[in-house]
């Protein structure tokens, strides 16, 4: 679009403010000098702001470092609120009284009481980290049903197999699952001697049946049974420490033919899906 002009207006405006000459270089020199001063002031502002920001960061970093000394940050830094992380600060030592040994004469299933037999004299002592133990899975009827359903959904077993497993689980009594749970706990604690502590043995509380058997797998024979075979009706033994390549297969003692049938089927399915013997 071309701009329109009015000669009358143009003439009048020319008379109002005629064109005047000016020196552009002098104007540019003055403006350039002023702009440089402004830029220097701005740079100084930026430097000051950077210093303040750095000081603030240093302060925050100091606070963070102080917090880390008290193991605060790891707790804040967890996205999964169902778990907690911790670390051992070897520079801290417990200085109060502590029992040397615990006696648990009435140990058995459920809760029981223990008493300390002696206290060490006051003094520094260091507690060594012995072992990290995973929480055992909640072995129950529900646990096995969910496992069967989950395995079926993944397509690792057929629907017919899953149905048969669900029927077997339904036919099994609660005592059978209690025995499975005990076997599971025993599997966890069956370390024999804790690492670095010769002469100590992890044993289950008195009165807890250890219906765990060992069978020969891959040409390796498990140790001699320690429980009376007649009590379980078949070969039984304490589960020995699992070593690489030993591959002991543990069975709960089946007191009834029905339990034995369930176990046999389950073992068969394990072999069918995994193709290798597994320790229970």
């Amino acid at each position: 679009m071309t701009a329109s002009s009015d000669s009358l207006v143009a003439g009048a405006l020319d008379r109002l403010f005629p064109t005047t000459e000016s020196d552009p270089e002098a104007m540019l020199a003055r403006a350039g000098a002023s702009a440089n001063r402004i830029r220097q002031r701005q740079a100084a502002h930026v430097r000051r702001a950077s210093l303040v920001a750095f000081a603030l960061l240093a302060l925050l970093a100091g606070a963070a470092f102080a917090a880390s000394r008290f193991d605060v940050l790891p707790w804040f830094d967890r996205s999964d609120r169902s778990s907690a992380s911790f670390s051992i600060d070897s520079s801290r030592r417990y200085r109060g009284p502590a029992p040397q040994t615990l006696a648990c004469p009435s140990a058995g299933p459920g809760s029981f009481s223990c008493s300390s037999t002696s206290f060490l004299e006051k003094g520094r002592r260091i507690y060594l980290f012995a072992q990290r133990v995973e929480a055992p899975p909640p072995v129950s009827r529900r646990f096995y049903l969910d496992a069967v359903n989950r395995t079926e959904r993944k397509g690792q077993i057929s629907h017919a197999t899953a149905e048969r497993a669900r029927r077997d689980i339904a036919e099994s009594g609660d005592d059978f699952f209690s025995a499975l749970a005990m076997m599971n706990v025993e599997t966890l604690s069956a370390g024999g001697e804790p690492a670095g502590r010769p002469g100590y043995e992890l044993v289950p509380p008195q009165g807890v049946p250890m219906w765990i058997a060992c069978a020969a797998v891959g040409g390796v024979r498990c140790p001699r049974p320690r429980l009376e075979p007649e009590r379980c009706g078949w070969d039984a033994a304490l589960l020995t420490p699992l070593k690489p390549g030993l591959g002991c297969r543990a069975h709960p003692c089946a007191e009834t033919a029905e339990h034995q049938r369930v176990l046999s089927r389950r073992d068969g399915e394990r072999s069918e899906t995994s193709g290798s013997p597994a320790a229970y």
Binding site: S4, L28, R30
Partner: protein, 169 residues
């Protein structure tokens, strides 16, 4: 520096570009700034203030138009701000209006122009003193091209009978 290229394309507003545009158009910048402020000295101050702002805050140029359009906007804004801070002179302070007759005629024209709304005045100054087309005026004032055309027509319509009467007198 090829000023023609720099003023037409979307160029980066570095110092040399701003200076090149100013060298090319310094008369128009000063004339428009003088008309807005009503005083040549104030006009020079406005141009210098605009130049300082353009040189020290080149990062505010977003590259949406030409450097010249951006410089026009900066200088016009500086002149408007200066005019708002400074009382309007009662008579033309231009040394060029030497004779009494010329001064009287200039004062009459000044009164006519001063009576116009600010947007009409600005469009007039940019069109006649700045020699800008509608698009450039629109970019400088941040309005539509159609608005510039309509505003200029309104200013012409208002001024023409007054100026005709002045010429006949």
């Amino acid at each position: 520096v090829d000023v023609a290229v720099l003023t037409r394309r979307r160029a980066e507003a570095n110092a040399s570009t701003v200076e090149a545009v100013y060298r090319q158009r310094h008369r128009e910048f000063l004339r428009v700034a003088t008309a807005i402020t009503g005083n040549q000295h104030l006009g020079e101050d406005a141009v210098q203030e605009g130049l300082v702002r353009a040189l020290s805050k080149r990062s505010t140029f977003r590259g949406r138009g030409t450097v010249e359009a951006w410089l026009w906007k900066v200088i016009v804004n500086a002149a408007r701000n200066l005019a708002a801070r400074t009382p309007r002179p009662s008579s033309i302070q231009n040394e060029e209006t030497a004779s009494l007759q010329i001064e009287e005629a200039a004062n009459t024209i000044r009164d006519c122009v001063a009576a116009l709304p600010e947007r009409q005045r600005l469009v007039l100054f940019l069109r006649y003193y700045g020699d800008l087309d509608y698009a450039a005026i629109a970019r400088t004032l941040g309005v539509r091209v159609g608005t510039v055309s309509a505003t200029l027509n309104q200013a012409h319509t208002t001024l023409r009978p007054l100026l005709t009467e002045e010429v006949q007198r």
